[in-house]
Amino acid sequence: MTDGLVAGYADALFAVASAEGDPAAVEDELFRFAQALRVDDDLQSSLADPGVPASRRQQIVEDLLDGRAGSTTVAVVSMVVAAGRASRLPAIIDAFVERSAASRNKAVATVRSAVELTDEQRERLTAALNGATGKDVEVRVVIDASVLGGVVTEIGDDIIDGSVRHRLSQLRESFR
């Protein structure tokens, strides 16, 4: 669920990426940056700290993404951070990714797994999700050790949890 501010920033980022001519690459780079931001609380607090000058925060972004992302990606992230919306950056990037996928008539499926999926597994999972949701799904894998094993898939507001963590939680609940 995205609010107006997040949707507005997502639309702006999508417009910039489209104008620069390679929205898919920007989308992939932003998605990876958002995952890194989610697992690194120190980085997120530094970028969102209003006590840190905007130029300093932009410098952190540039140093972090230097050589790892294109100039368009660095520019849009730097713009959001300078605007003081770093705390909303993961949500903005998620909305941007969905917006970008929607532009290609695709739905984004965020797949969390403790290990990387093989190409064969990606294809099978994509096909299975296409069949299950009736949409053309684009799978984006996030490596998350807290899953322990198995996979958690998020498509919009729908969650298909087949992780070992979830099974242990269910087992813990059954003991109560």
């Binding site: 403790a114 999926l117 597994q121 069949g131 299950a132 322990l148 242990l168 087992l171 003991f175």
Partner: protein, 237 residues
């Protein structure tokens, strides 16, 4: 009726007393035998000569009169003048008594009768009052006895009710305390069981988690992912 008889008796008594008082002794005022004979002789001499006196003396009536002089006077019957004077005195006294004495006596008697009657009435009234007071007293006594009995009965009923209430309350309190204690014990038991179960579950799950983490090698991870994909695929069917 009684008053009238009393009045007649009083009048007769007064008349007899007057007669006795006024009448002198028989013959007290009568002439002597000689004087009587002399009086007769003088009367005969006055009316005629010696022959006439002799004739008169030979007549039987004269002899009876002279013999009458020889006879003793009646000891009971007074002389005529005494009777006249005595009768007149009696009549006067009687009239005086009737006019003055009798009303006074009658008044005194009536007053005494009235006073006696009033006293009797007062006595009757006092007796009635006393009887009324006695009846009232007895009624009050009966009421008081009834009130005492009623109060005693009420007190006994109240005591019984109070005892019953206290007993019921005590039993209710005991039952409530017993139930509460049983509930507390049961709650504590359930809480202990839950705590123990949670503790055991935590320990077991922690151990299971460690076992799972150590046992989830690459093959196991791949197998879990494949199973997940198969489940998603199966749900599509």
């Amino acid at each position: 009726m009684r008053h009238r008889r009393t009045r007649h008796l009083s009048a007769t008594l007064i008349a007899v007393l007057g007669l006795v008082a006024l009448a002198g002794p028989a013959g007290a005022s009568s002439e002597s035998i000689g004087a009587c004979i002399s009086e007769h002789l003088e009367e005969m001499i006055t009316h005629g000569d010696t022959d006439h006196v002799l004739r008169e003396l030979r007549e039987e009536s004269t002899q009876d009169d002279l013999e009458a002089c020889l006879e003793a006077p009646n000891p009971i019957l007074p002389e005529l003048n005494e009777i006249i004077w005595g009768g007149a005195a009696f009549l006067i006294l009687f009239v005086v008594m009737v006019k003055k004495g009798f009303p006074a006596v009658k008044g005194a008697m009536d007053a005494r009768a009235d006073r006696i009657r009033a006293d009797l009435d007062a006595a009757e009234t006092a007796k009635a009052d006393a009887q009324a007071v006695q009846a009232d007293y007895e009624a009050r006594l009966a009421d008081a006895q009834g009130e005492v009995a009623r109060l005693f009965e009420e007190a006994r009923a109240s005591a019984d009710q109070l005892r019953a209430d206290l007993t019921a309350r005590a039993e209710a309190d005991i039952a409530e305390m017993r139930d509460r204690a049983a509930a507390d014990i049961e709650a504590s038991r359930q809480q202990a069981i839950a705590d123990l179960r949670t503790e055991v579950a935590g320990i077991a799950l922690g151990a299971a988690e460690r076992v799972v983490q150590s046992s989830l090698d690459e093959d196991a991870q791949r197998r879990l992912i494949d199973e997940y994909i198969d489940e998603v695929t199966g749900s599509d069917d």
